[in-house]
Amino acid sequence: MNWQAFIEVLVGGLLSGVMYSLVALGFVLIYKASGVFNFAQGSMLFFAAMTCAGLVGKGLPLWAAALVSLVVMVALGLAVEKFVLRPMVAQPEISLFMATIGLSFVIDGLAQIIWGSTAMKLDLGVEDMPLEALMDKTGIAVSQFDLLAAAVAAVLVSGLAVFFSKTKVGRALRAVADDHQAALAVGIPLQRIWGIVWGVAGFVALVAGMLWGARNGVQFALTSLALKALPVLIIGGFTSVPGAIVGGLIVGASEKLAEVYIGPHVGGGIEAWFPYILALGVLLIRPEGLFGEKIIRRI
């Protein structure tokens, strides 16, 4: 075996996994707050990236475009809470899930009505090229852009972990996730908590959207990243921020290694479904995921 190539595939996979984790984080936030899988997270990411790239295209500097996009995404999050979730308090989880499916179509359509359907470029100022020094010394190609994404993810995860465990809002949020009605009964302002979480989810979508958009071009296909996040969430656990990171790393590394080392023997193209097989395995052994909360219900 060519170990140099193996390491390159492994490192590349881990760094791709970090990018998946960034998408998965948005799901975790909403799930922790409302106990619902937000099907619209991929659409939010797309909307954020389109807004940022569209504003840059209109002549705004990147920092200003990012700032305006942040305001737009937080506003979108708050609007979703007010007009979609608030009327559905105490409804079954499946109803909330269905609402987010509808929401995803609305956001997809809105993004394309406002910014058009053509692909756009988003330049964050960091080239997506291999680190030359590392390449010269070891022959291993590691993208400097992916390293930046990993650093951003690390900062984001640390911030969110502190937010959830150390702040009053974070603890309230966990209480809301456990039981909406019980949280309301003890005086937790449910609407404010949901508003905050959807706003933060909007921010996470913007960060992920900008990084993915800069990496692949800003286009509709960004919405399909939600499908990449699904096995990440199943493996890491829907309620765990660190789980999203670990799940992402496992998915990224395993799918790349499988494609490179198993794919050629079975006709290739296995990367698309391999993480789901892995997730199925985890579901059978540990349904709550590696880091998810074990839910025990009296029956």
């Binding site: 359907s117 997506d128 071009g217």
Partner: protein, 438 residues
Amino acid sequence: MNMRHTLAATVAAAALTAAALPAQAQEQFIPLLSYRVGDYAAGGSGFYGGMIDYFNLTNAKGGINGVKITFEECETGYVPARAVECYERLKKKNGGATAVEPLGTGAAYGLLDRVAVDKIPLTTLGYGRADSADGKTFPYVFPLITTYWSQASAMIQYLGSKEGGMAKLKGKTIVHLYHDSAYGKEPIPVLDAYAAKEGFNLVKIPIPPASGTEQGAQWAQIRQLKPDYVILWGYGVMNTVALKTARKTGFPVTKILGVWWAGSEEDVIPAGDAANNYVTMTFTPSGNYPLVEEIRKTLYAKGRGNLEDKDRIGSVYHLRGLAAGIMYVEAMRNAQEKYGKGKPITGEQMRWGFENLNIDDAKLKALGATGMMPVMKTSCADHEGSGATKVQKWNGKKWEPVTKDWIQAERDVLSKLITDSSAKYAADKKITPACAAG
């Protein structure tokens, strides 16, 4: 009094309707199975935008001997099942469909048998099932201008010329990096045939459509293989991501040769610097053609153009749509010449029109489209009509020509493949190959 008024109104309405009937009859309906949303929206909106612009330009100039083209779009999202549904919904509308263009190989495969029954020509401009060039077996299918097999032939010839002759391809490694769909698999028989003939090593690496956004594994494989060339057979986001990932893994862009559906502005602009010096095939080379100027003046200056973004006028996809429009209009004109000038034609008559296209240099000049597409002449035996392509390079701002002359597909390599494949289809479907009457 009221009764009299009602009666008078009814008579007037009947008279108006009767008067309107002949005018309504002077219309030719084309269903457009377009896609303007979703992963492949950039291609769909540009192509159908071009087609509609050409139809509107034709109508603005009085139609085809007075017959106006009408059309209705149905959103397919590039999903074959939805394209079939759209076709079924529109095929009998407005007097019946004249011809149909789904812009998707999967959709074309889904419609192949249906159009033969309905007698509605299916055009697949530069895509679709390559052996359908054999009009004796596929009387209602027209892979106009060029097919994937012709393109694969031209690609290998171009790579051979880069190496200094076809014989120099011996021992080389060429990767076929393809969209894992009917579209991406279509050229494989031709590439296999060339690999056997010229002695190069062909490595096929599929990219699942769902994985278009992430190609790290495939490019890691390519890096290990160290191929001499990579043929990029992608569509939509896959192309942009391929170029960016190639750069990320240190693979030189100059060793990549893209298919014509990987050679639009929408593929390279989002890729930024990673696309500089990227080379692709094309059958509608970029340029400032008089036809495009006419469309600007006649349509866009009056707010009647179809593209929302005026920067896309004259883009690769837009030009391809214009080329499709030219062929539709010329086929209708042909059919009218035979079956009655100034009268709408049926699908069967349109088939004859497509089968007798002759778009030569003089015709292209008259249309203001010299060089915008190759000259072409169809027949019963040849529904493709040309098979010629060119090579273009992205210089960071626009596409510029690499080859001055059109590269012609090698008929001696392709003809046996086409004959064998269409014969198998004919045997499976119990078709007796023959030229259609008319």
